[in-house]
Each structure stands twice: as C-alpha cells, then as structure tokens.
C-alpha cells in the first residue's frame, strides 16, 4: 500500500478525493483478496445497518491539529486505562470491614489484625501476579486523569474555546472534573490504610460540619457513627459503579457535542469561522490518536514500574488513635487540605447551634470556586456583551483581562495547594510552622491581585511586540548608516509559516459531490 504515496492515481487514493465518486474505487479495490473480504463484510453490514453515508462522513471528518488539543485526549485515555486496570483490581479486592488476621507474605504485618479491605490490598500488592503493577498503573493513571483534565480546562479557558456555542460542553467538563476528584478520593480511600482512613475521618467531619443537615448526612453515608462497618462496601459501589457510570455518560455527551459542534481551531491561512482545517479522521487522525493512546498507556506503565506510589504497606492498617506525621493526600485534594489549614478557628454559635469554621474552607469555598468556573462563560458574556458564535480560538495575549483573571485564579489555587504541604515545607526549609501558615494566608489574599496585574501587563507587552513585528518586521542585527549619518537597524519581513493548500473533503451530500466533480 505504501507504494501508492508516489502514485497519486493509485486506486486507494481516490476515495479520499472530492472529485471521484467512491463507488468505482471500491470495485477496483476489491480485486485484491483482503479488499474483497473487507468489501464483503462492509456490504453485509451496510445491507443491515445502512450506515454507509454516516461512515463516509465520519471517515472524512476533519480534526484540527495542535499540540494543545491532545490534552483532552490524555484525559480520555487515562480514563480508559483506569477502566481496564480497575476492572482487573476488582477481581481481587474485598470491600469489607470485617476484621481478619493477616497471614500473607509481607512479613512486618503478619499477625496484625486488619480489615479485609486492607488485607486484600496487601494481597494484590504482594501475592497476586501483576497485581502491584496494575495497582500502581491504576493510581498513576488516576493522578494523570485529574491533572490532564485541569490542564485541558486551562487550554480551553485561555484560548476562549468555551464561548458560544460550547458553553454546555464547558459545564459538562466542570462536572467531569468534580466527579474525577471525588472518584479519585473514593479510590484511594478504599484500601483502609492509615493514610486513607485518616482522610475518611476528615471527610466524615467535613460532612458533619454542614449546617442544619450535616450530622444526618454523615450518619447516612457511614450508616452510623464513624467508622461503622458499612462504609467501605458503600464506597466501593460508588467507586466502581455509580461515579464511573456517570463519568461514562458525561464523557460520551462531551465527545458527542464535540463531534456535533466540530472542533475549534486557531486562526491561520485558510482557516475561518465557517470551516475546519486539519487531518481527516481516517487514516491520519485515527492513527495519530491511536498511537497517542499507547504512548499515554506506556507512560503510565513506565511510571508504575519505576516510581512507587501509595505504598499502603508502609502506612499500616487504619487505627483511629494513630496518624503519620507529614501525611499528604493525593495532589488534587491538596487545595482543600490547604484551605482547611489556613482558615482561622472562627466558630459561629447561634441559638444553641454551631457552625464550625471548617464549613467555610471545605464546603463553601469549593462550592464557590466550582460555581465561578462553571459559570464563567456567562460571566464573560455579561461583561463583554459578546453573544456571537466563536469557532476560531484566541491567543491568550489578545484577551488580557480573561488571561489575567485566569492566572489570578490559578495563583489562588496554588497558594492553597502549597499550604496543604506547609508542614513539609516548614521541615524542608527549617522555618517555623506558624510562619508558613501566616505566609499561606498572605499568599491567598495578595497573590491573586498581583498575578492579575502582572499577567495583564505581560499580555499588553506581548501584544505590542506582535504589533511591532507585524508592522516593522523582525530585527536582523544589521546596522545601516544613512547618508546624513543616522544609524538604524534593518528590519526584515517576518517569515510566514509554510503552508500547504488544504484539500477539501467530500461534501456531506453525495449529489453535491457528483455535481461538483463534473462527471
């Protein structure tokens, strides 16, 4: 097949060309044995499903190329990896709080009383072939899943891809982020080790703190007082059925909307608000993205082989009387840990009721953050009055206010996130723990406005530089002297990116195609 690349007239090229009706090409192609088998299967299916027009349009669907469009793909592929490895883990994990005495091959814990959940996780790690590698791939893929969602969202935010008509897909994406965080937390809480058990106790206490109905919520979730014996099996149902089910549904909706609305693209020669320029789904895009799936999977496998993650056997089983110093949650919970640390102990007592201080940093704050992020498309529409369709993306510098606001938000998030490890920072840099807390409080208040101002200034300067290059060209380093003795640097026109004329794909309507081809 490869020889055809030098022979544009070869049969397998024709179907991709707008001018040639696909039917004679198929007939020619099936002269080979494989082609005949494929054509036969295709015909059999088509006679029953009638999918040929849809298939043709799908194969010809155009996807714009840009490295930043791969970030969402990383999220999708890590989710697929999570489903694959997670299914394997369910074969061996026992979601039970029944206490057993451990007799497995990890010597330091032999003879210890622990829940079956913890014992079976030890079993997966030490006595199931490929159990540890699957567990570690699962955990690394979970970290990557949330991280790639966040970076993908930043791409969408800073390039304005969330604007009309894509506001709904932005909201679905925010929902996916929240669910991914909950799913990750549920997942690393299941083994019932000392670290995750401490996290669950904190989760119970945060739930309990919610005004009016908090104690009932916690009571219903855990089936009674902490820890109870119901929660691990309930959490397991949530982790392997409920949230993954919603994730699959929302991801499907996210992708369906993406396909229906067509992808955004950066401005460039030949790219307009009314077209899409890029690779066709088949073969270019599907081969690239398929290959990329394997690279993401390979990266997770390499991380899982080389870097130990969540070594639950070092933490020991959960016991309410014990805790390990410097205990850190998975990275995506860090900002809540930080906000919980920074909040002063301001308790409200009213009419015989208590509003614990933890409500503000752990319930209200994440609620406000998610509402701000989810509602941003409408906030921007309100502020700019722009209700037009936008399929061409912005360069972040061209929208200095949005870019600066986003950077300020990230500064706020990072301040909280860093404060989630302030005890670790204090011990690494030998500074007082209390000083890191005060520093964190100052950062949370002052870093967002400072970041906003600095980012806006940078955007405006970059704009000015773009303008200068556009109008005067690039500096060459050659200095010329004019007859009257003035020195000036010679500017050359900016080099234009090399660009091939895109070839249009088959129109959606077959009649249109035949009329256009002139045959």
């Amino acid at each position: 097949m490869t020889t055809s690349t030098s022979d544009p007239g070869a049969p397998n090229r024709l179907g991709r060309n707008p001018g040639i009706p696909p039917v004679p090409k198929r007939a020619k192609d099936s002269t080979t044995m494989g082609g005949a088998a494929l054509g036969g299967t295709g015909k059999w299916l088509d006679e029953r499903l009638g999918m040929a027009p849809k298939l043709r349009r799908t194969l010809n669907k155009v996807f714009p190329d840009h490295w930043s469009f791969m970030l969402g793909e990383i999220a999708l592929y890590s989710f697929v990896i999570l489903l694959l490895t997670g299914t394997y883990l369910t074969f061996f994990f026992k979601a039970s709080s029944t206490e057993v005495v451990y007799h497995g091959s990890y010597m330091p814990l032999r003879g210890t009383t622990m829940t079956e959940a913890y014992a079976s996780t030890l079993n997966i790690s030490f006595d199931v072939r490929a159990g540890l590698i699957m567990r570690q791939i699962h955990h690394w893929a979970a970290l990557l899943f949330v991280a790639s969602i966040c970076v993908h969202m930043m791409r969408v935010f800073f390039t304005g891809a969330f604007r009309k008509p894509r506001e709904l897909n932005w909201v679905i994406g925010v929902g996916l982020l929240v669910l991914a965080i909950l799913e990750g937390f549920a997942g690393y809480s299941l083994p019932d080790d000392l670290l995750s058990g401490t996290g669950l106790r904190i989760a119970y206490s945060i739930t309990e703190s919610a005004p009016v109905m908090g104690s009932y919520l916690a009571w219903f979730l855990f089936g009674g007082d902490f820890p109870g014996d119901a929660f691990i099996s309930r959490l397991y149902a949530v982790h392997i059925l409920l949230i993954p089910g919603i994730l699959v549904a929302l991801i499907s909706a996210h992708m369906a909307l993406l396909v229906h609305q067509k992808h955004t693209q950066f401005p460039g020669p030949g790219r307009t608000e009314t077209n899409v320029v890029g690779s066709r789904l088949f073969p270019g895009f599907s081969a690239k993205t398929g290959g990329f799936f394997f690279i993401v999977f390979g990266a997770c496998a390499a991380l899982a082989s080389l870097f130990q993650i969540n070594p639950i056997w070092l933490f020991g089983p959960y016991e309410a009387r014990n805790v390990s110093a410097g205990s850190q949650p998975d990275w995506y919970m860090g900002f809540l840990d930080g906000s919980s640390r920074l909040m002063p102990g301001w308790e409200i007592r009213l009419f015989g009721h208590t509003i614990p201080p933890i409500v503000w940093p752990a319930v209200i704050l994440p609620g406000i953050l998610m509402a701000l992020v989810g509602g941003y498309p409408w906030i921007e529409q309100k502020l700019t009055g722009d209700k037009n369709y936008h399929h061409l993306l912005d360069r972040p510098r061209d929208r200095p206010v949005r870019t600066a606001a986003g950077a300020g938000f990230i500064a706020f998030y990072i301040s909280l996130w860093l404060s989630g490890g302030n005890d670790v920072l204090a011990s690494i840099f030998h500074i007082s723990l209390n000083a890191t807390t005060f520093a964190g409080r100052a950062l949370v208040v002052f870093s967002p406005p400072i970041t906003y101002l600095v980012t806006k200034r940078i955007c405006l300067n970059l704009q000015a530089r773009s303008d200068a290059v556009a109008h005067h060209g690039v500096e060459t380093g050659f200095i010329s002297m004019s007859p009257d003795g003035q020195y000036a640097e010679i500017h050359a026109p900016a080099p234009q990116p090399k660009h091939h004329t895109p070839i249009p794909v088959l129109p959606d309507d077959l009649r249109e195609l035949e009329a256009g081809s002139g045959h």
Binding site: T5, P211, P283, G291, I358, P497, T501
Partner: protein
C-alpha cells in the same frame, strides 16, 4: 503557495480533474480567509500550525521508513512476548519483579505508539483537509420543530384536559419521593445522641493503647507509669479484647490483641503528666478535681476534623495535630492557641483507685471531636 503546488504538477485533486471545487473553496486569498487577525502576521506564530512535510517523498525514503515502522512493531511484539513469559516464569517475590514486568509492558506500548505516529508522519500523506461548518441554528427548522412538538402536545390533550394533567402530576410527586424515603435505610438510628457520648463508662481503667496494659500511679510492676513530661495514648479497657488461638488440647498458643474500632474512634484519649506547678493558675478551663498529681487526660480527637492529636512538645506544653496543625496548650485546659481548631480538647474526668490504677470517673462532659450543627 499555489506556486509550489504548480511546480509539482498541481494538487492531487487538480491532477485528477477537479480543479474548480477546491480552488474556489480554499484558496487563501483575502476574501476567503475572512477577518485578518493580528496573529496572522506574527512571525513564527506557534498557533498557526502549518504542515511542512514534503508532499512527494521518494520511494527509497518510503522503503526506509517502512523498515523503521516494521522494526518498531516487531520490537513491540517481542516486548509483549517477554511480558507474558516473564509473568509466567518469574518468581512473584523477586526483587525486581514489578519493575521488569511493568517496563516490558511500557516498552511494548510505547513502541506501538511511536510506530503509529512515525507511520503517519512519514508514509501517510495526511494532507490538510478543509471542511465547512454547518450552522447549528436554523430559525425555520426551529419553528417547524416547535410546531410539531406543540401539535403533539395538543394531540395528547395534556393542556386541554386539566383533570388528566393534575392527577398525572399529583401521582408523580409521591412516586419521586419514594426513592428519597428509601435512603432512610442507610442509617437506622439518630445521630444526635451518639455524638454526645463516648464509650467511656465510670470505673473503666485507662489502658495504654500500644502496650495494652493499665495505667498505674504507684507501682511500675503493675502497669504503665509516667514521668513528668511524659504522655501516653489511652483507651477504656473495654476497647481491648484478645483473639486467642488454642491447640487441640485447649491450651492457648497465640493471643492477638484487638482494639474495637468503634470504641477507639470516639474514646481515644491522652494521659499527660505535667509538673503541677506548670498549670497556669489563672486558667479556669482545667478541672483540677480530675488532675491527679499532675496527671491530666484530654480527648485525643482534634476539635477541628477529628484527627488524633499526636505530637506533644514538652518545652512549650503544646499538643499539635499533624493533619492541619491545630495547637492546644495543655497547661491552660488544652485551649487552641494556633491553627484552625476553635474549641479546647475536652478533659476526661479521672481518678486513682486504692491500688493505684487510673480510672474514668465519668464520660466527657461535652462532645469530643469536631463541631456540628446540633452542638451547643
């Protein structure tokens, strides 16, 4: 750009006899490109992409590329075979089992991925294609769909027959409430009372939670005693049981201590011994009736989020919670002096019996652990 195409005989479409369609559709002239953005003119704009591949690679190079891709696929297959073989053959407990197994999988996956992308980049043309967007919204379509929907509503008589409509809605409300009511089964009891009490009962001896021995004031041979500045985590003796394994003759051959997690979760307490002079005389939080020769007991559950307050700094008499760094001053009734906690650690009333054993006088006089709505 079109000059380049002409020099190699025009685009593929043109050579196949369809010049007009694509020229009209995509020639990047000003009127087709639409509004010129600032970034168009920007040198080296990273966002504008652009495909720099040679459109007509020669056959020798294609052969070389084919061999590269084929080699990558072969190596990937070999790594996968190694993975499967190693899974079967190697000893699960080998030092490097996980690393070798995982890396062989990683190599196999990586090579497939790299091969696929190399294939696209060298052997497929993967020309840039252009596709028109179709308007998402069409006013006429929208109106027709609305009319069809309203015709359906009229046909259903939903609006015309209010009795039908009202009974339908009235029947749905209780039916939708049913699953909410079913959630009541998640917890059969009420939370408020349970939060107000722990498992400490009057007369319970204080047991060291690590050594599983009672706390003693007088005689170190009968239990655990504390020096000044010392502290120990204690549990009510009812929390500790022993799981005994017996041989065929009924002799105990093994005895594993077990801590009831439900008791531990609310009753875990710290017993500290201070120099009696260290207590701040001005503080009214400490109940001196229950301080025995400098021994004082506080709930170990942080009033912030319920973590065990595990770190004790003797010099400053501060207890530190490692979760969120709340600090409690034990010389002043364990009041919070720094960090996010709002309330003091409750003090457990303790006494010493005639044999020198520490015993609980009564349960805490307030709820332990974090705050909640019903708490006064």
């Amino acid at each position: 750009m079109s000059d380049t195409d002409d020099s190699t005989g025009g685009t593929i479409g043109e050579r196949l006899g369809v010049p007009s369609l694509e020229r009209a559709a995509v020639a990047p002239t000003a009127e087709h490109v639409g509004p010129v953005h600032r970034s168009h003119a920007d040198a080296g704009n990273p966002l504008s992409g652009g495909d720099e591949r040679d459109p007509e690679p020669d056959e020798a190079k294609a052969k070389r590329d084919e061999r590269v891709v084929a080699t990558l696929f072969t190596l990937s297959g070999a790594a996968a075979i190694f993975f499967v073989a190693y899974y079967w053959v190697a000893n699960l407990h080998d030092r490097w089992y996980n690393q070798i197994l995982g890396l062989s999988l990683a190599v196999s996956l990586f090579l497939i991925g790299i091969a696929a992308i190399y294939w696209v980049k060298t052997l497929m043309n993967d020309e840039e294609a252009v596709q028109e967007r179709h308007p998402l919204y069409d006013q006429r379509e929208n109106e027709v769909a609305g009319e069809v929907f309203m015709a359906g509503v009229a046909d259903s008589a939903f609006l015309k027959r209010p009795l039908l409509r009202r009974t339908f809605i009235a029947s749905q409300v209780p039916l939708l409430l049913a699953p909410v009511v079913l959630l009541r089964s998640l917890a059969p009891t009420q939370p408020k009372k349970a939060f107000e009490h722990t498992h400490w009962k009057p007369g319970d001896r204080l047991f060291d939670a690590q050594k599983f021995q009672p706390l003693q004031l007088l005689d170190p041979t009968k239990g655990v005693t504390l020096d000044i500045g010392g502290f120990v985590t204690v549990l009510p003796e009812s929390a500790i049981t022993y799981e005994q394994t017996t041989d065929t003759e009924g002799n105990v051959i093994d005895s594993v201590p077990r801590v009831d997690p439900q008791v531990e979760a609310d009753s875990v307490t710290m017993l500290l011994r201070l120099d009696p002079n260290d207590f701040d005389p001005n503080n009214h939080r400490t109940d001196y009736r229950y301080v025995v020769q400098g021994h004082v007991a506080y709930s170990k559950l942080c009033t912030h989020l319920g973590c065990p307050v595990s770190l004790y700094e003797q010099q400053t008499h501060k207890l530190l919670c490692p979760c969120h760094q709340s600090q409690f001053l034990v010389t002043e009734g364990a009041r919070p002096v720094f960090g996010p906690a709002a309330r003091s650690l409750p003090q457990l009333p303790i006494m010493v019996d005639e044999e020198g054993f520490f015993r609980c006088v009564k349960d805490f006089d307030q709820p332990v652990g974090p705050g909640y709505w019903e708490r006064t």
